[in-house]
Amino acid sequence: MRMINSFLVMIALLASSCILSEPLMTFSSSLNQTRFQSLTQELRCPKCQNQDLADSQSGIAKDLRTQIHFMIEQGKTDQEIVDYMVARYGNFVLYRPKYSAVTSVLWMGPVAFLVIGLMVFVFVVCRNKKRRMGETS
C-alpha cells in the first residue's frame, strides 16, 4: 500500500513538473510582442516619479499595459495607440517628445552642437596651420 502511495506521489510530481506555465499576456504574433515591449518603453507612467510603463508596478501602469495589449491585438497601429495615450494623459507620457516647433531645439540641439563643434575644430586647425606657415617662413 505504501509503495503504491509513494508511486502515486511520484507520478504526481512528475506530472506537475511538466505543467508549463502560461504567459501573463499572450500575443498573436511575435511582432505584436515586440511592439508591446517597445511601446511600453516609450511611454511614461503618468503617476510615477520617472518610470516607463514597462517597469512600473503601479496600478495605473498595469491598466495602461492591459489597454496597450488590447489595442495591439485589436489591430491598432503604434501611432493610434500613442495618440490614444496623448489624448488622455498629454504629451507628458511621451518619453520621446514629438517633433514640433517647441521641441525643435531639443531635437536639433545635438546636431547643432556637433556642427558648431566641427566648425570650431576646422577653425582651430586652420588657424594653427596659418601660424605654422608663419613660423617656418
Binding site: 506537475s16 518610470q51 504629451n91 552642437f113 570650431v120
Partner: protein
C-alpha cells in the same frame, strides 16, 4: 549633549573655512608669506572639525539616538548595524555632511602635497577650496543641520532607512560618487588659482593631472556601482535609465573625461590652455548643478531627495556665486592665457581636440535633454518628458563616433604624424574589424546595427594593441623590457580605452541578445526560456531583521542539468510600510539569469518576470577597467617627483 558637540564642531569648521577662504588670499595680494603660510594649518583645522562632527553623527546612529531628528527619520533600532552606518548618508542632511567631509579630505590631501607647488600658488588653491567648503558648510548649518533635536518628545523608534537604500551597493556608491564629484573641486581650485595668479604653464597641468585622474577614477567607480545597484535593486533589470539624477552624475563624468584628455595636451604641448581651464570650471560646475538638481526638488526622479524650496534657493545662490564668479573671473583673465605652440592636422593635438569637442557635444546633449523639461515649463508650454528613447537616439551615434576616434588618437604623434602611415594602419584595422564583426554578427544572427557597433569595438581593440605592439617592438631591446619601460600613464590609457570597448560590447549585447518574459507561475509549474528551464518550486515565508518577505524558490536547469537556485523576494518593511522587490539572480560572465516577483495572482500563482541578460556584467567590468586605468595613470611616476621652478 553629544549631538550638540557635533553641531558646535560644524560651527568651528565653518569659522576655519571662513578664515581659509579669506586669509591666504589677502596674503597673496599683500605678498605676505606669513598669511600665506596659514592656509595649510587652517585646512587641517577645518577638516578636523568636519571629521569630528561626522563621527558624532555616526555615534548618534550607532547608539540609536532618536532624539536627533535626522537619525529618527533615517534609522531604526532593528536596522542591521552596517546599514545604520550607511544611513548616515541616507538622507539630505547626512549626505551633505559626507560631501563636506570628502571635500575636507581632498583639501587636506592637497595641503599635504603643498610642497610640490610654487610658494604662492598652493595657498591660493587651498583658499579656493576653502571658499567651496565655506559655501557648503554654511548651507548645512543654515538650512540643513543633521543635528536638530526632537525635544522633548523623543520618538521611541525611528522611521527606518528607505528600504531601497538598505543594500551593500548603497553603502559604497554615494561615497565613491562624492569622491569623484568633489574631487573635481581640486581641478577647479587649481584652475581658479591659475586665473588669479596668472601662473598657467605646463607645470600647472602636471599638478592638476593626477588629481583629476584620481577623481575621474572615483566617479567612474561611483557611476558603475550606481548602475549595478539599480540593476539588481530596482527590480526591473535595467542598468541605465537616463534619469535626471543619473544624468547629473554622468555629465561631470563626460566633462571630466574631456578634462583628463585636454590636460594631457596642455601639459605636453602647452596648447588649449584657456580651454582646459574652462573645462575644469565646467566639470566642477556640473557637479554642483547635479547637487542642485537632486536636492532642490525641481525634478522628479526615483533618486531625488525630499524637496525644500529654501534649500533650493540657498544652493542656487551658492551655484551662482561659485560658478558665476569663476566664469566672470575667466572672462576677465583667460584672455591673457594663450598657447604658443602649434600643431599639424594629423598631430595628436588635433585628435585630442576632436575628442574634446565630441565629449563636450555629448555633455551638452545630456544637459539639454535633462533641462529641457524645466525650460519648457518655465516658458509656460506645459509638461513634457525626455527619456531613454530620446537619449538613445541622439547620444549613441555621437558616442560611437567618439570611440572610433578614441582608437586613432594614441597612434598619432605629437605635433604631426605621417598621414600615409596613419591611413595604412587604420585602413587595415577597419577592413579586418568589419569582416570580423560581420562574421560574428552573421553567426549569431544580429542585425546591421550590431554589426556596425561590433566593428567599432573590434577596430578600437585592434588599434589599441597595434599601438602597444609598435611601441614595444621598436628598438633593439627585447619586447618585455620595453613593455616594462612604458609609463604607467600609457597603460592607464590603454586599460581605460579597452574598458570603454568592453562596456560598449556589454551595452550592445545586452540590448540585442537578451530575453525577457512576464509569466503567471504557480508552484510546481515550469517554463522553458532561452535554453533554460525555470521551475517554480514554491514560496516560503521569510523573516528578516526589519522586514517580512515572501521568498520564491525557482530552480534553473539547462538540458536537465541543475544550474542554480534563484530566490527572488517580495519584502515588506514594517517600519516604513514599504514593499520592495528583491531580484533573484545568478551572475555569469556571458549571461545573467534574473528573476523578480511581481504580484500575487489568484490562487497560489504569482506573476513572475524572467530575464536572461547577455553579457550584462561586461558593462560594469568595463567600468572597473576604466577606473583602474584612471588610478594607474594618476600613480604615474612623473607626478610624484617634485616640481622645480616654472618651466613654461
Amino acid at each position: 549633549m553629544i549631538p550638540e558637540i557635533g553641531h558646535f564642531a560644524l560651527i568651528l569648521a565653518l569659522f576655519f573655512s571662513l578664515c581659509l577662504a579669506v586669509v591666504p588670499l589677502i596674503g597673496y595680494w599683500q605678498k605676505n608669506p606669513t598669511l600665506l603660510y596659514t592656509a595649510r594649518p587652517l585646512t587641517f583645522l577645518m577638516s578636523f572639525f568636519v571629521l569630528v562632527s561626522f563621527l558624532v553623527l555616526a555615534f548618534a546612529f550607532m547608539t540609536d539616538d532618536f532624539s536627533v531628528m535626522y537619525v529618527s527619520q533615517n534609522s531604526n533600532s532593528h536596522l542591521p548595524i552596517w546599514y545604520k552606518f550607511s544611513a548616515i548618508w541616507g538622507g539630505h542632511e547626512g549626505s551633505l555632511l559626507l560631501w563636506v567631509l570628502i571635500l575636507s579630505g581632498w583639501s587636506s590631501a592637497v595641503a599635504l602635497k603643498i610642497h610640490t607647488l610654487p610658494k604662492d600658488v598652493g595657498p591660493v588653491v587651498l583658499s579656493v577650496l576653502g571658499i567651496v567648503s565655506l559655501g557648503f558648510l554654511s548651507f548645512m548649518l543654515f538650512t540643513s543641520s543633521p543635528f536638530v533635536r526632537l525635544m522633548p518628545e523623543i520618538p521611541t523608534d525611528g522611521r527606518d532607512l528607505n528600504p531601497l537604500l538598505q543594500d551593500i551597493g548603497l553603502i559604497i556608491h554615494p561615497p565613491m560618487l562624492y569622491m569623484g564629484y568633489v574631487g573635481f573641486s581640486v581641478a577647479f581650485a587649481f584652475a581658479i588659482a591659475a586665473l588669479i595668479t596668472g601662473n598657467l604653464n605646463s607645470s600647472w597641468a602636471r599638478w592638476t593631472r593626477p588629481w583629476t585622474s584620481l577623481s575621474w577614477a572615483f566617479l567612474t567607480l561611483g557611476i558603475t556601482l550606481g548602475s549595478w545597484w539599480a540593476y539588481y535593486e530596482l527590480g526591473w533589470g535595467g542598468w541605465w535609465f537616463w534619469d535626471p539624477v543619473e544624468n547629473a552624475s554622468f555629465m561631470p563624468w563626460l566633462a571630466g573625461t574631456a578634462l583628463v584628455h585636454s590636460l594631457a595636451v596642455t601639459e605636453k604641448r602647452g596648447v588649449f590652455k584657456s580651454w582646459t581651464v574652462l573645462l575644469a570650471i565646467f566639470t566642477f560646475s556640473l557637479s554642483l548643478l547635479g547637487t542642485f538638481l537632486v536636492r532642490s526638488g525641481v525634478l522628479t526622479s526615483v533618486h531625488a531627495f525630499a524637496a525644500d524650496p529654501t534649500r533650493g534657493i540657498y544652493i542656487l545662490a551658492l551655484l551662482i556665486v561659485l560658478i558665476g564668479g569663476s566664469l566672470l573671473l575667466y572672462g576677465f583673465r583667460a584672455g591673457q592665457v594663450r598657447g604658443s605652440a602649434t600643431f599639424g592636422m594629423t598631430g595628436r593635438e588635433a585628435w585630442l581636440l576632436l575628442n574634446n569637442i565630441l565629449l563636450t557635444v555629448l555633455t551638452l546633449t545630456v544637459l539639454l535633454g535633462t533641462l529641457y523639461p524645466l525650460i519648457f515649463e518655465v516658458l509656460g508650454l506645459g509638461r513634457i518628458s525626455v527619456g531613454a528613447p530620446y537619449f538613445n537616439t541622439v547620444f549613441s551615434p555621437i558616442a560611437l563616433l567618439l570611440i572610433v576616434f578614441m582608437a586613432v588618437g594614441p597612434l598619432s604623434k605629437w605635433h604631426k604624424t605621417k598621414a600615409s602611415v596613419l591611413l595604412k594602419a587604420c585602413l587595415f584595422a577597419a577592413l579586418l574589424s568589419i569582416v570580423l564583426a560581420g562574421a560574428v554578427s552573421y553567426v549569431n544572427s544580429l542585425g546591421s546595427l550590431a554589426w556596425l557597433t561590433l566593428s567599432v569595438a573590434f577596430w578600437a581593440v585592434l588599434l589599441t594593441f597595434k599601438d602597444w605592439f609598435d611601441k614595444v617592438s621598436a628598438g633593439t631591446k627585447g619586447i618585455i623590457p620595453r613593455a616594462r619601460q612604458l609609463p604607467r600613464n600609457y597603460y592607464g590609457m590603454m586599460l581605460a580605452h579597452l574598458g570603454m570597448v568592453v562596456t560598449l560590447i556589454g551595452i550592445l549585447l545586452v540590448s540585442t541578445s537578451s530575453y525577457e518574459s512576464t509569466l503567471k507561475l504557480s508552484p510546481g509549474e515550469s517554463v522553458s526560456f532561452a535554453g533554460y528551464e525555470f521551475h517554480f518550486d514554491g514560496i516560503s515565508h521569510v523573516e528578516g531583521p526589519n522586514y517580512i518577505a515572501d521568498s520564491g524558490e525557482i530552480s534553473v536547469s539547462k538540458q536537465g542539468r541543475f544550474v542554480t537556485l534563484l530566490t527572488p523576494e517580495k519584502r515588506f518593511y514594517s517600519a516604513s510600510r514599504q514593499v520592495m522587490t528583491e531580484a533573484g539572480l545568478d551572475a555569469g560572465f556571458t549571461r545573467d539569469l534574473y528573476v523578480s516577483l511581481g504580484e500575487k495572482l489568484e490562487g497560489d500563482a504569482w506573476s513572475v518576470r524572467i530575464y536572461v541578460k547577455a553579457f550584462v556584467r561586461w558593462i560594469w567590468l568595463g567600468g572597473l577597467m576604466m577606473m583602474c586605468g584612471g588610478l594607474l595613470s594618476a600613480l604615474d611616476k612623473r607626478y610624484s617627483t617634485k616640481v622645480r621652478g616654472n618651466n613654461a
